[in-house]
């Protein structure tokens, strides 16, 4: 299956693979950004119960939650050109990375829409009543009172999605994207040291995930700085 195991290669491969971390992070950043927009857009019909759109969003979220990301990736990769051909747009020359970004944006959007909806519902109703009682309009109430609190509630879940998405980007190479995994694949064909490559990749992914967890955890603390300490700590 490969040549003899050589631990020194693990160290040797890391810089080569690390070079391609940028592509992974690009996919992540673009898909999270687009996913946030899509998530807000999808959450609105659900909250205001806009007929038809509401049902469409339910279907969208259910489909995304019901199928593996790998299948979604293939569906977008093979399906999008076919759909766009109907309106005479040729995307067959588009680079694979754009299909990946679109897929992950669609996937993240579904998750985010549910997170946002849950977060807005989690804001105490008394807050809205208080806002109205001091004469705020419903727009003011939403943007000044409910949304800032909802963002705080939603943050840990969004952070989890970001980390999950980072790990999911490791599947982008299946449609031929040259990210860390893609580079790893070419390294394997060049050196036949598959195990070492995958161990190096694991180390890189683990480090990045740990870094993300630390940073997002700090941010979460910052967002909660006005919250009262836990009851258990107070007692």
């Amino acid at each position: 299956m490969g040549k003899a195991f050589d631990p020194s290669l693990i160290i040797e491969f890391i810089p080569t693979l690390f070079h391609y971390l940028g592509v992974t992070l690009q996919i992540l950043a673009a898909s999270i950004f687009l996913g946030l927009i899509l998530g807000v857009a999808a959450a609105i019909p659900r909250m205001f119960k806009i007929p038809i759109l509401n049902q469409l969003v339910i279907l969208y979220v259910s489909f995304i939650r019901g199928t593996p990301i790998l299948i979604q990736l293939f569906l977008v990769f093979y399906g999008l050109p076919a759909v766009l051909q109907i309106i005479k747009i040729d995307v067959s020359k588009l680079e694979a990375i754009y299909f990946v970004i679109i897929t992950y944006a669609i996937s993240n959007g579904a998750g985010f829409s549910e997170i946002f909806r849950g977060a807005i519902r989690a804001v105490d109703k008394g807050q809205t009543e208080a806002a109205y009682s001091v004469g705020m309009t419903s727009t003011q109430n939403f943007f000044r009172i409910v949304m800032p609190q909802a963002l705080r509630i939603a943050f840990p879940n969004v952070a989890n999605s970001v980390i999950g998405s980072l790990k999911d980007t490791s599947l982008a190479f299946t449609i031929g994207v040259m990210d860390m995994m893609g580079r790893g694949d070419t390294l394997i064909s060049a050196t036949a040291h598959a195990l070492e490559v995958y161990i190096s990749l694991s180390i890189i992914y683990y480090s990045v995930v740990l870094l993300f967890e630390k940073t997002l955890g700090k941010l979460e603390k910052y967002f909660n700085r006005y919250q009262k300490a836990d009851l258990s700590a107070a007692a």
Binding site: K167, D168, L195, S202, V209
Partner: protein, 236 residues
């Protein structure tokens, strides 16, 4: 390229045949992972010496790396390890005879163990301490209190999380096709490439996964209703 709708049905019939492999790849890792997860969760809750750090490291590492890495490292690593051991001791084991599914099952079980331990741990933590105190006050031992009082409640509380994980692993099993396992996605890939109808085949596979997910969520909803029917407060 146009979409050949009748072919979706043809592909569907072909793909559904590999459903058992997907189910094996989902259920076996979750069952083994549950045992691992329970052990690890208890180790982490009781802060058993030495084991505690190892358990923390295990959970953190497996949750911090993509599952495809676990599959690949085990898929390439275990045969190398066995080869080395067998050449040293002159055992005549041929690693290429080991079915690939075994490696995938090991990798997925280890990953499932890490995720399940977190779920079980948070379930145990969320059972109120009053329950434990009550158990001790009627003279139960620590072991009895955990297994008769705390765990049953913790597991009932964790049903929504278990469902999410079940669905997650149902979807994760699709990664196995990358090591040429013929489960749903692998079968779809074969149907797609032999007929050169990629979109139709993956639509069919998507429908199978979607249907399975909806079914799992429905079952879990009923189960949750039944299991928590004793613990709901209020008058009923």
């Amino acid at each position: 390229m146009t979409i050949d709708i009748p072919f979706i049905w043809t592909a569907f019939k072909e793909i559904i045949k590999s459903l058992p492999i997907t189910l094996i790849l989902t259920l076996v890792p979750l069952a083994i992972g549950f045992l691992i997860g329970l052990t690890v969760a208890l180790v982490r809750i009781y802060k058993t010496r030495f084991l505690y750090q190892a358990a923390n490291g295990y959970v953190s590492f497996f949750r911090g790396t993509p599952i495809i890495m676990h599959i690949m490292v085990i898929y390439y690593g275990i045969p190398l390890l066995i080869d080395q051991v067998s050449s040293k001791f002159d055992l005549n084991i041929q690693t290429n005879k080991i079915p690939i599914i075994l490696f995938v099952l090991i990798a997925l079980s280890l990953a499932a163990g890490a995720y399940l331990s977190e779920i079980i741990r948070s379930g145990i933590i969320s059972v109120s301490t009053g329950q434990l105190e009550a158990a001790y006050s009627v003279g139960m031992t620590k072991y009895q209190a955990m297994f008769r009082i705390v765990l049953p409640q913790a597991l009932a509380l964790s049903i929504p999380n278990f469902t999410n994980l079940f669905v997650g692993f149902l979807h994760t099993s699709s990664i196995a096709f990358l090591v040429s396992e013929k489960e749903l996605t692998g079968a779809a890939n074969i149907v797609a490439s032999t007929n050169l109808k990629f979109l139709e085949a993956f639509i069919a596979a998507g429908i199978v996964y979607w249907g399975l997910t909806i079914m799992v969520e429905g079952i879990s909803f009923l189960l949750e209703k039944k299991v928590t029917s004793y613990s709901r407060g209020g008058v009923s």
